[in-house]
Symmetry: C2
Subunit: 405 residues, 2 copies
């Protein structure tokens, strides 16, 4: 894989394309051997393509197909092929049509996006103006795709996937997401399962935002034998970790909470202070959330806690906004205002300012109000403002998950 | 730069460390020449280190310093150096202390995190258990750091930065963020400024979530000459783009809106439907937001629109929840409930379901209620559910920004 862009080499932008592509390629039985990031420079792109083509059967290049003078990937491929760039009339017509449908006319600069190295094939872009390219360099198949993630993904799925070489081994990847225990303790519980690095199954761990994910990679002659191996490991992991297991693969904490609510036919509402809407945002990122999520109040100011959630002024004066009693009153008030089965209340100090002697940065009270009463949980979370907010939101959703299980 | 991890090569996780490091290295006058991602494999790590040391003065390696059997970066460095791993007593004591302070005892697995190649130097980790390493391989300085982003950043700043070679050129990087016009139209307005790719100033563009950012990289003998060049280009960009310019460098749409509100001593509240809390989350990601953000209502269900924001039932029945009139009523109701100077109301169809003949997926009505009345804006936004939500949130904040300017 080659990613092209000054903004990637210099660090101004994180490359989200390469990980997505790697995952998709693996699902086609193609194992990524390396990933290179190069600058917007015709010679650098040409050199990278030539050097990678010596070692790989498939080379996937993203970025540098835009209309401006710093977009030089198609020129780099042409140089690597020793070919001229020629205008592809069909591409040009498609770009003109793209602008026409939006009531605009094509800028002259966009013409370059219809230029393709002689001997290569243009790949249509359904979501943007930059055409992709499929070409052969030495014995490798080379694909150029745009750097804009959703355009690249659509082009990979509809144009590139069918042009990949067929593999004779099938790889099944599975992720098992856990929450509530550190990586080394999880490793201790799993012991021999994790050391299993030889043979047809590899198990590893990754940590992100408090979620420890186990990666199972199983290889087999066909899909069902690979799947059987992954299933076997997953069953052992679930037996050892119990309720620590949140879900698998594309499951998120929010989607799992949503599934549990839908199964029970129950509803949820949120009252957020320090997380400022993050929990609502996570819940509503899941399509179909309207069937169980009624809404929420972001009660950032104390006045909002009083007037929109009915938190008594005395509680705020006596215990402070970041307190067990206020979290509980937020959750109870929220549950009754929204007439929800469950409501979660979150109040804390995300920092960097606002701490006192008794209330450090990272102190977060989470209350869950439900059919059987109200429970409260005290957390002291580490990290920056962003970390504390994300960890608080995850902890809140996890309390809902455990209560529903 | 070398990033180590099966989860990075296979695409399970996006690498956020490399971009951050690249940006920091540039600020020290060290230009990243390449970035390699390799698997959790001792030989692969050793080969990558040896091959990169031939071409670079500084090699920064992240990841693979955890306590589990798939963490093999320190072993890879030892192999590249032809050295044994030896126990560093000071590191071991620091790891034991780390657990003790948290009321836990060190697991035996963590002992490996205090092992350092003979002849190398341990770098303390203030936020976790994995010690870093500083070593010399051939003529290059090699640094190993943990893959957990906040641990890596702290270690880079406090341990690695001071050990970097001094550079004789100073590079000043500046980002200018614009919103409201596409990349090719921005390029047309900037013309010659963008083609300026030779000499001491390079200008390029990057697009993310509707924001077109211009990257200015100026190189000079000292900081003030580089800064003068960057200032000169920035002044020209601002003159040509006017209110399209949102801010620079670490400015975000939300931080700029916050600054404008603070300057005017005014307050903001939010009423979100399809964005589900995302706007509140973006605003409160900025430290100090409590001085101008009062809070919000996530009115996901119609009942919440009626009861918490006072949207009349007749409006919902007659025009539907996604309509100009309902957006305006949400904003007006929100402004009065929170007693805020400004309130924004957002209602739309984020998809993939919920569209009708007259109301396509991506239709979003945004209303802004302020001291001089209520304005409404109709948007039809492209992309997936996630894109539509992010673009709607950005558009809403931009309407607030323009009204405040």
């Amino acid at each position: 894989m080659i990613s092209v862009g000054d903004e990637l080499v210099s660090g101004a932008t994180a490359d989200t394309n390469a990980p997505w592509l790697a995952e998709r390629l693996v699902s086609f039985g193609i194992a990524p051997v390396s990933h290179h990031t190069v600058a917007d420079d015709e010679q650098a792109v040409a050199s990278a393509i030539l050097s990678v083509c010596e070692r790989a059967d498939v080379v996937v290049v993203t970025g540098g197909l835009g209309p401006t003078a710093d977009d030089l990937t198609r020129q780099g491929l042409a140089r690597a092929m020793g070919a001229e760039l020629v205008l592809d009339d069909e591409c040009l017509a498609r770009i003109r049509e793209f602008f026409r449908r939006r009531g605009r006319t094509m800028a002259p600069a966009n013409r370059i996006q219809a230029m393709i190295p002689a001997g290569a094939q243009a790949l249509p872009n359904r979501l943007g103006t930059a055409a992709g390219v499929a070409a052969a360099v030495a014995d490798a198949r080379v694909f150029l795709m745009p750097g804009v993630p959703h355009e690249m993904r659509e082009m990979f799925n509809s144009e590139v996937a069918s042009r990949l070489p067929k593999s004779d081994a099938v790889i099944v990847r599975r992720l098992i997401h856990t929450y509530g225990m550190g990586e080394s303790d999880i490793a201790r519980k799993l012991g021999d399962l994790l050391r299993q690095r030889e043979g047809d199954v590899v198990v590893g761990t990754t940590v992100a935002a408090g979620v420890v994910s186990l990666r199972i990679v199983a290889r087999g002659r066909d899909g069902s034998s690979a799947k059987r191996q992954a299933d076997h490991v997953e069953a052992q992991v679930r037996e050892r970790l119990g309720a620590l297991v949140v879900g698998t693969d594309s499951d998120t904490m929010a989607s799992v909470v949503g599934r549990l609510l839908r199964e029970r036919g129950q509803t949820l509402a949120t009252a957020e202070s320090c997380t400022g809407g993050l929990v609502g945002q996570m819940i509503t990122a899941v399509s179909g959330a309207s069937s169980y999520y009624l809404g929420g109040v972001v009660s950032y100011a104390d006045q909002a806690k009083r007037e929109l959630l009915g938190v008594p002024r005395e509680l705020l004066d006596e215990h402070g906004a970041v307190s067990e009693r206020v979290a509980a009153a937020m959750a109870d008030g929220c549950r009754s205002r929204f007439a929800a089965d469950w409501a979660v209340g979150i109040t804390g100090i995300a920092g960097p300012t606002g701490a006192t002697d008794e209330k450090p940065v990272g102190l977060v009270w989470i209350a869950l109000s439900g059919p059987a009463g109200t429970q409260t949980h005290r957390h002291v979370l580490p990290g920056t403002r962003g970390h504390i907010r994300r960890r608080a939101a995850m902890a809140a959703l996890n309390h809902v998950r455990l209560a529903l299980m």
